[in-house]
Symmetry: C2
Subunit: 212 residues, 2 copies
DNA sequence: CGAGTGCGTACTGTATCCAGTGTCCAACGA
DNA sequence: TCGTTGGACACTGGATACAGTACGCACTCG
């Protein structure tokens, strides 16, 4: 009998998560300086774990580290966002095809859940989260840890920040995307790799980043 | 007049580079424990920068960090390698197509250089380096920093270590691949995206990882 | 009046120190 | 004899202290 091994999280993890939220939510605006001493005091930790968290965030592209000058929130311009979108166009359609070709069949449940959540969510922010979840679930279904990792980097660092906030503000927001997501999920379920790839590519292409 | 701004490297950077070399060269074997105190003493630095370097290496997938238990060199099995290969099969052909479609034309010089170096190199290790260089140059030519980054992660963490060392030992080694590389470079130069993608895919598919 | 220089301050980078946790082994009890 | 438990040891995680670097401002000199 084994107790289900609870997840202990180090201070570094918690600081990392906290800063990530603050950056993605815009509470820490793009380009904002991140003075170690001040930040550490605010978060109630020492500088050591803060520094390690900052390094990790730098690895994810969320902050930039200049030697002897300190850290600041990454200031991503439209070019960066467009590049992330291009990279998604490479990775996600291919992942969809892989997911459809998997045997035993890929796990569709997370995708279905994300779709349902997106339909149920009235507010734009939640809908956006659900959207992100669907896309990550799709890549996850490919069974490739690397592709999953890459997709996560693309979504976290470059996309959630500003691209789709602008887009979601338009028209009906992102809630309307659920239908397209469902078609992709169906194609994966039907093991039609060709179709899944095509639908995913067209879906992404249909929603390019918007210059702010 | 501006002096060309020399690159200053922090201790963290240097430790990171040193460990990376030792891991990739096999001097630090897969699964080896990395006790902080010992390592720090050997490298002649304190534990603080060492820890930050370890975190960075963990982000690259070269080492694994277990809370309250320490770091060890990532122990990649055949599954990991095969997954990296699958991911390359997604990224590199797409990058080749993007490179061919670029205007102004993609920079072919690094690719040509890598090919020449591969032809000139008699020893397997050098040839392997040149091989890696070609593939990274190809992805770089796509103009997408993200794809370049991903390719680098795949090559560094999973591939150089063991996959192709086994393969390079076979038959004529990797020197013979130069011809295939040249065909890819030519297709990119001719702006034939379709062909570049196809050739790249077939090239990679022709050289899967070998179980050791 | 303007350019350059030197100093002071604020911050980062590194080293050291302390507390907390995991692991191994031996002693004890069933 | 085998399982359990207690404790010593070794190591990591976090906090603090110190050294080094960059930036801004005032002062000086042309």
């Amino acid at each position: 009998m084994s107790v289900p091994r609870i997840q202990i999280s180090s201070v570094v993890d918690q600081v990392h998560a906290a800063l990530r939220v603050q950056i993605l939510s815009g509470e820490l605006p793009r380009g904002a300086r991140l003075p170690q001493e001040t930040l550490a005091a605010e978060l109630g930790v020492s500088r050591t774990p803060l520094r390690e968290a900052l390094r990790r965030l730098a690895g994810e592209g969320l902050v930039v580290l200049q030697p002897n000058h300190g850290a600041s929130v990454a200031d991503l311009d439209f070019g960066d966002m467009r590049d992330a979108w291009t990279a998604r166009l490479v990775i996600e359609p291919a992942a969809a095809r892989l997911a459809a070709g998997r045997s035993p069949a890929a796990d569709l449940e997370p995708m279905r859940e994300a779709i349902a959540r997106q339909r149920a969510q009235p507010d734009p922010a939640g809908s956006l989260d659900a959207n992100r979840e669907f896309h990550l679930a799709l890549v996850d279904a490919s069974g490739s840890p690397h592709l999953r990792h890459f997709a996560e980097l693309l979504w976290v660092a470059r996309i959630s920040v500003a691209i789709y906030t602008a887009q979601a503000a338009q028209a009906d927001g992102s809630a309307g995307w659920a239908g397209e997501h469902e078609a992709i999920a169906d194609a994966v379920a039907a093991a039609d790799g060709e179709l899944a790839e095509l639908l995913t590519r067209e879906h992404i292409r249909r929603h390019p980043p918007i210059e702010t």
